[in-house]
Amino acid sequence: MIPCIVSQTPMIIYIFHFLIDYSELVFTVVDITTTVILYLSAKKTALYLWEKQKCRKWSVDVSEILLRPKSLHWLPLHVAAAYLLNPLTVATCVARSTCAFHNLLLALLMLATQHNSIMLSAVFLALASYESLYPVVLLFPVILQLAQKEVKGKLMLQNPYLLCFILEYTVVFLGCLSILLMLSYSLLYSSDFIPAVYGFILSVPDLTPNVGLFWYFFTEVFEHFRLFFICIFQLNTFIYTLPLIIVLSDHPQFLMFIQIALLAVFKSYPNLGDVAFYLALLPIWSHLSRYLRNSFLVLCLLLSCGVLFPILWHLWVFSGSANANFYYAATLAFSTAQILLISDYLYAFRRREFHLKYGTDIKTQDGRKMMVELK
């Protein structure tokens, strides 16, 4: 494991080798492209949701929670605005974090997936996971999404078509990945970059403060527990994939969204750019807002964290009058807020599904309104 100052992949470094001179321009362009792509993919998603809603059979009196063409019509615009006008995005762009590229790749991946082009999605997925490892987990939602079009028959594991499709796609993906790795090898004639990049991501050696949970924890944790906790935390990042697949198997879109959001919270070096990205996707699911439970609380938390981060950082690092704990507290609050947000959306989604199936107001025999709860 050889973490150096730069722990980017050889490719991106090589590309920067050309772009470094006019980087401001590059980053602005990248962000705008991302916005456009998000717009396109959101449009596609809206259509997708609409058709899905049409072709399904609903229970009675669910009219009020159904999607409406008007809202769907304005949805892509909202998404684009939410990304481009988000102060976090602007901040990321100003800070020139390579996270912008990462977001671009994710957006491309989504677009490609929407367009059911196996090759492209595989390429972008490979690129994304080549850049920062974690997007590997997006493999499953992508497969599910594509399978809905490509595979005939029900999406059951017994279905041989599905199996061979999964196989095919995985092979393509791995192929792209290995080609990328080989390219970077041919770039350096050494494979040092693999530990340098992925080792750096997995075994968290750089403890520079960020908005995540890892840095202060691994600053303070006792030496002999370090490895154990690293395993636990990294596991925690990936562990949600399986249950999510089981529960959301026929809503790959939402699955993908939740996955991206979770990565943004639990990855080892999270940054505001990731948060901005999945916040930008929220408008797609604005029809869930009815079932959100503590949106206001989350709103306040996120806002105050946004204010507290720079201030506590300044107090700790520049005026030296506060210590690390203050900033750490802010990161804790931020993570909690995000977790609440995501779990809320998940809850709302399932609740809506439930109501779509059984109707919005379920009555008992004597006409009292039944209440719904998780059991």
């Binding site: 005026s319 009058s321 209440m371």
Partner: protein, 611 residues
Amino acid sequence: MGLLSDPQSRERVLLFLIRHNSKLCILCYALGLVWFLLLPLPPLSAPTYISENALLPGLVKREFVGGPQALSLSREFAANKALVGGLPVEWLNKTMTSLGLEVHTQTFAVDLPFPDEINERYHVRGTNVQGVVRARRAASTEALVLHVPFLPEANDQAMGLALSLAAHFRKQVYWAKDLIVLVTEHDLLGIQAWLGAYHGINLTSLGVRSSELGGYCGALQAAITLQLSSDVATSIDLQLHGPNGLLPNLDLPNLVHHLCLHAKVLCTVQELLPPQEDNAWWQSMHIMLLQALGQASTKPASEHGLFLRHRVEALGLKAINSHRQEKASLEKLGRLLEGVFRSLNNLLERFHQSFFFYLLPSLQSYVSIGNYAPCAAAILVVLFLCAVELWAKLNPEKERRTREAAASNPASIPWLSVIGSIVIAHGLGIALYLGPLVAHQRAANYFDLPEDEAVSLTALGIGVSSLSLPHRGSTPQGWIWLKLFALLELGMLLLALDLLNFPLAFMLAIPTVPAAVVSQPSHKTASIALLLVASPAVISLMGLAMKTELNPHGPTSGQLGGFIGLFLRWLQCLSQSILEHQSLGTNLYPLFTLGLFPCWLQLWHVALWKE
């Protein structure tokens, strides 16, 4: 999570909040106020102590005997000052060299955005002189600063004392940190230039052109700014706060206070005698309020302040010569300083043991952040409660509205309707921030005013004109969104301020919070009245009035009493604060214009909301 997940209990809590909201708000507000009033009393204000072991105050034998030398040097300095009619650089060079110091000079030049009428300066040219006592056996990785600001008509004795102290220190072998004797011109501008050059950065928006500095001594650990204009002193006043309410680590004032007790020199803060037994509460409250006002004004208490901004613990010592009996000679003061510097020299780590956030009811007791945070919290809670209520009021609306929204055009998506006024408010804030600097030139020529008055009048003009904007919302419920936004913004603002500069935050919160909570189109008059009281102008005016009231010396001569005088002084302060923001980076003006004013304007819109 139980509360958050179980729908029933959440409903119940929400209902409870909404039902008793007004009571709760009043309760919290009152709690905050009362708590603040109780702060000077024992359980909340603990007795001070020195928490850094390494200081070892008062163990050393004081050997300074340079009293007469100090006197003669100060006389000589005064003579040369009169001769040159400014800072006698050559003389200082010669003297310091003859005393064995390593001398470096730095010339600097600053151009203020507009002439400063109070100190009569516009294009400032100056020189800083810096004499270094190299620690013999240390690798000059750390340094202490003894800073003597050059004042045209005062501070000669300070210069003499500093020089003779340096001469004494030069002979000693026990230094682990270099000692810099620093003489700066043009009070804050000079020290700003020096610190900027020393750290190779510029923290202000003004370009300071300064010559290359020599004689670097590594990291500055602590600085003492000395003001002494008489041959004897009756008391020493500690000047604590720097720009933007920064405070030195509590150990530093404690150290000096401890040594003063040791040397039997009276030591005060805010130039007020330590509280006596009878009505101790009011006296300590008085001191505390003065400190709070000082911090809230974001103006450094003395030249030491800028050290604090560069992460150097610093303290201003101002010797006062009143009619009291027991006087301290220069020699005694010199020994006091010697003690201070030897203690600082003993320090190994940087100051980090004691508090950075505190209020001083007196030098014997302090209020730590943990004890005053509750008032801030209580008052912020008021805003939060109010916001929750609004949100709850909005929620049933929201669903109906979304349905309509789907049907009708998107422009009536509820919160879109208020974006206009929000943008306008902030735009006006920016205009108010930039306006004076851009427009003062023209205004001055047009009305032929002195420029700084032109500046403040422009600001005032922009501010007032912004009140007469159309307050027309398209939707009946729009004002709720607007108010919600304003409340959140105000809350965030105050939250941020509470961390940076508590006194300022508190003084803003006291008037603005009730106004913000009350303001509604339904009861206009009350909300308008409150809002007027809470308007930035009135707040700052009140602050100024309070300051003059509490000022121990009473209103200084040459100021008109009464409201007119107050108003004129307020105008001055306005231009001053703009100037200081430009030259020293104090953030009162941007805070008021970019932060408070837009919030207030939105609330104003809310109050005058028309269908």
